[in-house]
């Protein structure tokens, strides 16, 4: 995009934001727009970033890519792949339209999160527009930077409620030299025990997933991905295959599995009934099996058990019960995706006030939002 074109886009964003500020009506920022189901719903008018697209800077030896918010995720991944690099947090796509701005604002990460960290860890800098129409840049394109508060890292997970992301610089990583996946059958408790033990050793664990029934004596399928230096992956594979009685998967099968898990295309995800909700539990490490009543028996565990997916009724009683269970273990629950018959106005997230010690953080979040967005341009309440 030429600088003049770029400036034109920025000016049109500014115009839209200032008009919204004037009329005190929020704007719902939309990238690919393929994700309206995630977070609390709203029906405000849209600010679309789709046209503001293009990779602005990519130097493989710097491990950084900078692109406009509307750039398609698949375009970024294609360009990185040519240089044998990747977005290490494996953002889910779901649909062709996923944009960089949406990826960052959604803040979701895929299977590798357990080994490489979350999306926020990879954000180096962002150019944003606040609710006053100010064009601001925070962070930068270098790995180490402690000048000022790290405002660009407030964007991941903000779901368009703090500011409009115009451009972002994201750290990328080389693709691992080798990668392989192994699979075995075991109970949920045994899988959790074994994953946490393995994670405490210098093994190249990259991702894990256990799929089965949430019953103590039921055997499920544990899949583990190993990635890193060839020698390390090979050695770990030999040792884990023998200690877990596991088998190596064929490369194609393995790739399809992890990609379907990330995109929630595995049968357990796609069989969501019209009146059901897919719940996501996030839990501290080493949290054991949970007593889950009123839920479907099927359960998927990712991130060595720190992320769990389950289906159940969509009513508040079920959600409240799950929130209670998660919170008793120091975690939280979320209505991730709802069936087509479910009331779309449902509150999707664990409220801040229900999270431990977050009550005192509420006024901070409120003041923070007010300082970036005094007129409530981004007050779409997609987040609690």
């Amino acid at each position: 995009m030429s600088p003049a074109d770029s400036q034109q886009h920025i000016e049109s964003f500014r115009k839209q934001i200032l008009e919204a500020a004037q009329s005190k009506t929020p704007l719902s920022i939309e990238g690919g727009g393929t994700k309206a189901w995630y977070g609390n719903p709203n029906s405000f008018s849209k600010l679309s970033t789709k046209a503001y697209s293009g990779i602005l800077d990519y130097q493989p030896e710097e491990l950084v890519i900078t692109a406009c918010a509307g750039t398609l995720l698949k375009e970024i991944e294609r360009v990185l792949s040519e240089k044998n690099q990747m977005l290490a947090f494996e953002p889910p796509h779901f649909g062709e339209g996923a944009t960089l701005g949406g990826v960052i604002a959604a803040g979701l990460a895929g299977p590798a999160r357990i080994s490489v960290g979350n999306l926020r860890d990879f954000v180096l800098g962002a150019r944003i527009m606040d609710g006053k129409g100010q064009d601001l840049s925070f962070g930068g394109k270098v790995m180490k930077n402690v000048a000022g508060y790290d405002v660009s890292r407030l964007m991941p997970g903000s779901l368009g409620t703090l500011a409009l992301i115009l451009e972002a610089s994201v750290k990328v990583l080389p693709k691992p030299a080798a990668s392989t996946s192994i699979r075995c059958q075991m109970t949920q408790a045994a899988a959790l025990q074994s994953l946490n033990e393995s994670a405490g050793q210098p093994l190249p664990l990259s991702a894990s997933c256990w799929i089965g029934k949430n019953q103590a004596d039921s055997f499920g399928e544990l899949t583990i991905r190993l990635a890193g230096a060839e020698a390390a992956v090979y050695a770990a594979k030999i040792s884990l295959c023998s200690s877990l009685n596991a088998k190596e998967l064929d490369t194609k099968e393995a790739e399809a599995f992890w990609s379907n898990l990330r995109e929630q295309q595995l049968p357990d995800f796609t069989s969501l009934a019209a009146d059901e909700t897919l719940y996501r539990l996030a839990l501290p490490a080493a949290c054991g099996s949970l007593e889950l009543n009123n839920m479907s028996d099927d359960i998927i565990l990712e991130w060595h058990g720190q992320e769990r997916w389950l289906k159940g009724l969509s009513d508040d009683a079920t959600f409240n019960a799950l929130k209670k269970i998660a919170s008793a273990h120091g975690g939280h629950a979320m209505r991730f995706r709802q069936g087509s018959n479910v009331n779309p106005a449902n509150q999707r997230f664990t409220q801040l006030s229900e999270q431990s010690h977050s009550l005192a953080l509420e006024p901070i979040q409120t003041r923070l939002r007010a300082s970036f967005d005094p007129s409530g341009v981004f007050a779409t309440h997609r987040l609690p």
Partner: protein, 496 residues
């Protein structure tokens, strides 16, 4: 630094009031106000800037921290939190009408969980003490600032500290799960959590690296990582600084993330060789140290690949450490570069800017030009893998003109860093040292937003005010780290 002369009568009355209010809640030795007791707190590692506080409080519990803050909040007295005082940007420098709140006595390791690979520690725990406490489990805490034997985890959180290993293992931000802290009004809050990705804005990201301006850290949950089985280092020489700089970029472009990637220029190599006798190539224009860690198989594979890249990049000599003793010998010069600089000149001034890796050679060449322009020498020894530069400008502090030239030299380097796409501080923080150069990097809108963040946490602006974020109209000239008469703050620490 020229501060307006404080009104002694007002200060003394305020001190009496503050001491009277705090005494009942602190143990006998937990409150200092006589000058002979508070003088050790008059500065941090940036010794050129000193100020005496009203008093120094040394609480032993989080509850006491909360009470102290409540009292100061009610009395409108500013508070400067302090860890070990090893900061290099004056972040913990006292305010003459304020209290220094030392967290040094909160130094318990609360719990260690080998199964979840986490440790809960109080803020005064030294960085290295965490790794020592978990060594028997085959685990360690990865971020390793060179001040790690002294600096506290609370200070690390507030400076987002890193070290040689953060190229591969990340900075403090990447290795902390949860931070518990007290707000200026005495309320206890928690940032982050043990469960991943809670909904709501991620306030931990702004808390980390906030230089004691948002909340007082009282407990930190850190991630522990398995200790690699083996580490080896390659020492490569280059007859041209450009080739050396390009080799750094080439290693990363080859898809390798070394455990450490550090560079020294010729002037540094010569200065340290005399000091440590590590066997460095004295004719080399640049020396690179590239470390690999992991399983023996991984290390062998990575060392081989790095050697190939370095040869292709034009290395004139390559040595690979054969054992742990040799590895440490190769590192010894790098670790002693600062004291070696101290032997070359009466004073030196340490800068801390970060640039994109591909511009390393450009910046080094520009610095050579600046040496001529300002008539002063400069040693370059730095975290090349991160593009984090630490030019050491040599000067004689007895000569005012030399000091001014050194200051200008330093500012020109930082301006060059910003121009090349980098930043004015990679790891030492802004503190009072770089408050002016913040104006080079950030415009009015960004600075206003920073104040918005500050205001969200500390609306009365009582927590470490006057640091890090310049006010919109501030232009006053502040100085920077200056090592006077060869007297180094914290001489016992390794210098990276």
């Amino acid at each position: 630094m020229v501060a307006p002369p404080p009104d002694l009568a007002i200060i003394s009355a305020l001190q009496t009031k503050l001491v009277a209010a705090l005494r009942p809640i602190l143990p006998e030795d937990g409150l200092l106000w006589e000058p002979e007791d508070t003088i050790p707190y008059e500065c941090d590692g940036l010794a050129a800037y000193r100020r005496m506080p009203l008093a120094v409080a040394l609480p032993e519990t989080e509850a006491q921290v909360a009470q102290i803050l409540k009292i100061c909040h009610a009395m409108n007295i500013p508070v400067v939190p302090r860890g070990s005082g090893t900061g290099l940007s004056g972040g913990a420098m006292p305010i003459s009408q304020g209290l220094v709140l030392s967290l040094a006595k909160l130094k318990k390791i609360v719990s260690i969980d080998p199964f979840t690979r986490t440790a809960v520690v109080q803020p005064g725990v030294r960085n290295l003490a965490i790794s020592e406490a978990v060594a028997h489990l085959g685990l360690y805490y990865a971020p390793d600032p060179s001040s790690q034997i002294a600096c506290s985890i609370g200070g690390n959180v507030n400076e987002n500290s890193g070290g040689v290993h953060c190229l591969k293992y990340g900075l403090t931000l990447h290795n902390v799960l949860r931070v518990r802290a007290v707000l200026m009004n005495g309320e206890i809050v928690e940032f982050g959590g043990l469960a991943p990705d809670a909904p709501g804005l991620d306030l931990m990201s702004v808390m980390i690296g906030s230089e004691g301006m948002l909340a007082v850290v009282t407990e930190v949950t850190v991630k522990l990582v398995p200790k690699p089985k083996l580490a080896r280092v390659i020492m490569a020489s280059f007859d041209d600084i450009e080739k050396g700089g390009n080799a750094v970029a080439a290693i990363i472009a080859a898809g390798i993330i070394p455990a450490g990637l550090e560079m020294m220029d010729k002037a540094t190599t010569r200065a340290v060789e005399e000091f440590v006798h590590a066997g460095y190539d004295l004719d080399a224009e640049a020396i690179l140290l590239c470390e690999s860690d992991g399983t023996p198989e991984e290390v062998a594979e990575e060392i081989e690949r790095m050697t190939e890249v370095l040869k292709k990049a034009g290395a004139s000599g390559i040595q690979i450490s054969r054992d742990e003793a040799e590895r440490l010998k190769f590192w010894s010069g790098r670790k002693n570069a600062f004291p070696a600089a101290g032997r070359l000149a009466a004073d030196y001034y340490c800068m801390d800017g970060t640039i994109p890796r591909r511009h390393i050679a450009t910046l080094l060449k520009r610095i050579q030009g600046m040496e001529k322009k300002y008539g002063l020498g400069c040693l370059n020894v730095f975290h090349a893998g991160d593009g984090n530069m630490h030019p050491l400008i040599l000067f004689n502090g007895a000569d005012q003109d030399e000091w001014h030239r050194a200051e200008d030299f330093g500012s020109e380097i930082l301006e060059a860093c910003v121009e090349l796409g980098g930043t004015i501080t990679g790891e030492h923080g802004v503190g009072i040292e770089k408050i002016n150069t913040m104006c080079i990097q950030f415009g009015e809108g960004e600075r206003e937003s920073f104040w918005g963040v500050k205001n969200a946490f500390d609306p009365d602006k009582l927590l470490n005010p006057d640091k890090a974020i310049p006010t919109l109209n501030r232009c006053a000239e502040y100085g920077r780290m200056r090592v006077s008469k060869g007297i180094l703050p914290h001489p016992e620490l390794e210098r990276f």
